[in-house]
Amino acid sequence: MSLKSYIITRALLTIPTVLLLVTIVFLIVRVLPGDPALLHFGKQINPAALAEVRHALGLDVPIYVQYYNYIVGLFQGNLGIAFSNELPVAPQILSAFPATLELTIGSMLVAILVGVVLGVRSSRKYGSVEDTVIRTFGVVVYSIPVFFLGLILIAVFAIGFHVLPSGGRIEGLVPTGGTILGVHVQTGLYTVDSLLAGNLGGFVDAVRHLILPCTALGLYISAVFLRITRSNMLDTLGQEYVTAAKARGLKERTVLYSYGLRNGLLPVLTIMGLEFAGLMGGAILTETTFAWNGIGTYIVGAITARDYIAIQGAVVFFGILVALVSLVVDILYAYLDPRIRY
């Protein structure tokens, strides 16, 4: 089948997966021992007020009606009303999203850079001391909880050497963004926004705040990339078409990049998609450690307040995001590897 039909098929397949996903979340929150509203407010609240709140939040109707409202709401982009502040959940999450996005992208970059470069190096020097050192590094980093890594980085660079900030996203004013083609754009990504406003000082400030959290989260994820890249490169480099290519006298660099890396990196792409999910989880822990105002902080706040609607909304948001990213990755993979489509 052609690329187009693959895209359509794959996109359609996402729908039942996402549906199942949101249903699972719905059930998790509802299948509590007890009533979500009651658990949130505790037993002190008087029954009348409780009933009013439940009604306002749509919890006093039968469960299948709730489910229907839930799904319809999702299509409209409505994630419910939070218990704690009685404001709609969706806008709160969306406003917290750019912070998490910035962190995620930065970390993914670090992870790929570190993981792939080390993985390639390790595979080329198979069996050597360098190989063992790199692999040990991979194993060790994999065992360190991301928040612990973050705390160590803070201890060394922020508290110890005072070269980098220990938390927060920016010291100065929040960048206001700039204009592109006459339209005012404010992405919420401080790095982008300060560049758009031509504010180099703000840009540097934002980047400085990004370094430690992205390093922590990035290193945490990099171990997987390292392992996969190394293993794939070893397999690919051992493959006959690489040997055959070398036998034709192609330069080692050509063989490495054009044959080895390209084929070996395709699974890395898939891993990137899979790891994105792990990245989301890690982001929650990183945000907590670095006082980073993203969705992670939002969820933790919701947990403390036992605001189940907010938790539900955030979890659904994450789930859909991951499903979308995985869709994009699969399509990219199909584009790069013709075998998948035919």
């Binding site: 194993v139 612990f148 929650i284 991951v322």
Partner: protein, 292 residues
């Protein structure tokens, strides 16, 4: 020539006994097992070897740095960190162990069944597992833990749900490959029923992969449990727990008391690292690197 058709499957146990011969991979496994065993022994013997009661408050000045009396310092409540380190692994190990058990008891049989059955059974099962698998792990665990509340069992369930799909997938894909192999046909021809085929023939062959997955999963469970505790979803505050100590030590840490966080963190790294060594070592041993 294919030998599968005329030999029965040997128990995978023999395999484990020959490990140390296998170069770096084998060494990693041995090191990993050693680390885990030592930590386990330490935890079990903690009532005997801990110098102070890990839960007792104000045994020493609050947030004091490591000294002879308190080799790892004290935390904000004046508790001896050293004693807490010795005893603090208990919850983590319980949770990790329990969740792996659940994964094994649920994920593996489901995987065997799904891989072996036709579309009607396999389809929905795989769809469910894929959805769960696609979920960001920690997020799912957070949701479930937040909902279920504190407690060792609840935490184990939260973590198990995240990892069951992994076991399921690996087992299922192995079964899919294996059910076409001649030795399975041979058993069927001789009148072996489904249960026989699944459990006595395929299962032992799947065990090595499960062992690898399990080791890496235990490592993951340990880290996830630490993470959940760090976010405030952990078990009872009363019993000493490494994860909790990191969570609790955060404030003191920012004020300069690095020992309140460093030592519990190191313990977690050790435990997770031990299991990771086992997993990495096993996967190296099982993976035929030499082609000739």
């Amino acid at each position: 020539m294919k030998k599968e058709s005329d030999s029965r499957v040997k128990p995978a146990i023999n395999f484990f006994l020959t490990l140390p011969r296998f170069g770096t991979g084998g060494k990693m496994v041995v090191i990993g097992i050693a680390i885990v065993v030592v930590l386990l022994a330490m935890t079990i013997l903690s009532p005997v070897i801990a110098p102070h009661d890990p839960t007792a408050l104000s045994v020493g000045p609050a947030d004091s740095s490591p000294s002879l009396a308190f080799p790892m310092g004290t935390n904000r409540l004046g508790q001896d960190i050293f004693s807490r380190m010795i005893a603090g692994g208990a919850t983590m190990m319980e949770v990790a162990g329990l969740s792996v058990l659940m994964c094994f008891l649920i994920g593996v049989p489901l995987g065997l069944v799904a891989g072996y059955s036709r579309r009607m059974v396999d389809g929905p099962l795989s769809l469910l597992m894929d959805s769960l698998y696609a979920f960001p792990g920690l997020v799912l665990a957070i949701a479930i833990a937040a909902v279920l509340g504190r407690g060792v069992v609840n935490l184990s369930i939260a973590i198990a749900v995240v990892y069951i799909p992994t076991y399921f997938r690996v087992v299922r894909s192995q079964v899919l490959t294996m059910k076409e192999l001649p030795f399975v046909e041979a058993v069927k021809v001789e009148g072996g029923g489904i249960l026989n085929v699944l459990f006595r023939q395929i299962f032992p062959n799947v065990l090595p992969s499960i062992a690898v997955i399990a080791s890496i999963n235990v490592a993951d469970s340990v880290i996830t449990e630490a993470g959940l505790t760090y976010l405030g979803l952990g078990v009872n505050v009363a019993s000493p727990d490494w994860g909790f100590d990191i969570y609790y030590g955060y404030q003191s840490f920012l004020a300069g008391a690095w020992w309140t966080v460093l030592f519990p963190g190191l313990m977690v790294v050790l435990l997770a690292g031990g299991f990771t060594f086992i997993g990495e070592g096993l996967s190296e041993v099982l993976n035929p690197r030499l082609r000739r």
